[in-house]
């Protein structure tokens, strides 16, 4: 079975310029924070926002390079989210481009469920965006979708 057969094609994606406040408003009624694809005007996938990227708002600088230095340990210590002073206007100041992750784990829609599952296992992700050959966003697939597909195949549901 191919990824495109079971993926969710109706996905809420955001733009680079979407503000943090708009982003939070879009997802405030969700059970938990999903994987949010970021696309440009021609729907090409350019980034992803994970829950952990929201933590970047608490940090004074979004320093990609510092995280890569193993001894800049402070950037790796868990952020104390109960003890932060955050400016009120930050919801409109911070935009998606500031916090999105450019290290994207994605899968092509023509690949198999097995390949999608392996990729998610390898990267420790619960859901990943699906793209076509042009890197255009096609949908999202999660481990749950794959488990459901298997259950369906076995006649459990």
């Amino acid at each position: 079975m191919q990824v495109k057969e079971i993926m969710h094609a109706r996905v809420i994606a955001v733009k680079r310029a979407t503000s943090l406040a708009q982003l939070l408003d879009l997802f405030k009624d969700f059970h938990s924070f999903p994987v949010i694809p970021v696309v440009d005007d021609s729907k090409l996938l350019i980034g992803v926002v994970h829950l952990c990227n929201l933590f970047d708002v608490f940090k004074p600088y979004h320093q990609d390079i510092l995280i890569r230095n193993p001894l800049s340990m402070l950037s790796r210590e868990p952020t104390d989210i109960f003890d932060i002073d955050i400016e009120e206007g930050i919801g409109n100041l911070v935009i998606v481009a500031d916090i999105m992750d450019k290290k994207i784990v994605k899968i092509n829609e023509d690949q198999s469920l097995k390949q999608a599952y392996d990729l998610m296992q390898l990267h420790g992700r619960g859901a990943i965006p699906v793209v076509d050959d042009q890197n255009k966003l096609g949908g999202i697939i999660s481990v749950f979708d794959i488990v459901m597909a298997i259950f369906k195949e076995k006649g459990i549901i």
Binding site: P60, Q63, I65, R68, N69, P70, L71, L74, D118, H123
Partner: protein
């Protein structure tokens, strides 16, 4: 006491010390170092001899992981991202400190190979300490951005300079024939060989990695790769640091999703770093401290002056603001983990007084840099108007 008991004490005391350090807003590395001094043979003597003797092994473990992590910065994207000013300033600040310390200590009468080691160690800065200060004072602006960029990348330059200097220092010190051309040739052979080793392993295993399907296998595979590189480097008398750094550089440029290797290593590396720094403290020979006054002071000052002028020239070449020219140099004063790591390698390479002298001097000056450094960083941030008006 057996080794396992010794290691358990180090881990638990190390954790305890970092909790205390958190309360008094001190970097964890300092805490590990201080608890190491307490546990070490001069005070409580709780670290068994066998563990102290294994310091070389543990530092090779830890430094191959550090070098591997730092190597991921050598990707095309990062070079595009860091910009001209950061590149010029970081390279010249490292060179300035290296040059001045090497020349100054040779004038003071230290042998060439020891001066080379001190010069190389002088290039390192402490990104962790700087982030903490920037965060504490809520500094913001162009100057702060350049400063963060510089300290993030300059440890990579530092490790390269150190590895190259170590190759030369080893050949100068251990080579029976003192012919300069043989020393240069053998050193270049070691450096080139390290690049080749890391490069070949990186290329081969990048291709093989498509058979790795889950996180458990990925962790085993990555550690296996790093230690294969480090082990072969040791076996052929090449540079562990350079080969592991180049291994990462090749992987990062060959594989679009290479971040998985670096993320997976981060899940287990911390206890190894802890062991490494506590042992660094335990290795400190307190009785040597008294004799080190002059060398220590010269090293301390020459490094700061070198960083200052290097930055100044780098700022002129890259047409940076006046504030960057004037104050970025002194803001790079803090020095900690990477420098200690380098010093520990120097100690294990050159057993005897010279190795101990390098390590003890660097450990002592590190503590001074950490006490005085933040104050100068604050002045630099203040003068360049990076602090919010309270």
């Amino acid at each position: 006491m057996n080794i396992i008991l010794g290691i358990s004490l180090i881990l638990l005391f190390g954790l305890f010390s970092s909790k205390v350090a958190e309360k008094i807003k001190t970097p964890a590395i300092t805490a590990y170092l201080v608890i190491g001094i307490f546990l070490g043979p001069y005070l409580l003597n709780l670290v068994p001899d066998t563990v102290i003797k294994a310091s070389g092994l543990i530092s090779n473990f830890a430094l191959s992981l550090i070098a591997f992590s730092i190597g991921q910065n050598f990707s095309r994207q990062v070079f595009k991202q860091i910009g001209k000013q950061v590149l010029w300033i970081s390279v010249l600040a490292a060179f300035g400190a290296w040059f001045l310390v090497v020349i100054g200590l040779m004038v003071l009468g230290l042998p060439l190979y020891v001066s080379l080691m001190f010069g190389a160690i002088a290039t390192a800065t402490a990104p962790a300490a700087l982030i903490m200060i920037v965060r504490q004072y809520k500094a913001k602006g162009r100057f702060t951005e350049i400063l963060m960029g510089v300290v993030a990348i300059d440890d990579a330059w530092g490790l390269i300079v150190f590895s190259i200097c170590l190759a030369f220092a080893r050949k100068i010190h251990f080579n029976q024939t003192s012919s300069a051309s043989i020393v240069v040739f053998k050193s270049l052979f070691e450096i080139g060989g390290s690049f080749l080793l890391g490069g070949v392993i990186g290329a081969v295993f990048s291709v093989l990695s498509r058979h790795i399907r889950n996180q458990r296998d990925l962790l085993i595979y990555t550690l296996g790769l790093i230690f294969l590189t480090a082990g072969l480097a040791l076996h052929f008398h090449m540079s562990v640091l350079l080969s592991c750094m180049f291994l990462a550089a090749v992987i990062v440029n060959m594989n679009g999703q290479s971040f998985k290797y670096f993320e997976i290593v981060q899940t287990i590396d911390w206890p190894i770093y802890l062991l490494f720094f506590v042992l660094a403290g335990a290795n400190l020979e307190i009785n040597l401290l008294a004799q080190l006054g002059k060398i220590g002071i010269f090293y301390f000052l020459l490094r700061v002056i070198g960083k200052y002028f290097g930055t100044y020239v780098g700022a002129i070449i890259s047409r940076a603001d006046n504030d960057v020219k004037r104050y970025l140099g002194i803001a790079q004063m803090p020095q900690a983990g990477v420098a200690l790591g380098m010093a520990l390698i120097a100690k294990s390479e050159f057993s005897g007084t010279m190795g101990s002298m390098i390590f003890t001097t660097v450990a002592a000056t590190t503590i001074f840099y950490e006490i005085i450094g933040p104050y100068f960083v604050k002045i630099a941030l203040q003068r360049s108007n990076q602090l919010p008006i309270s």
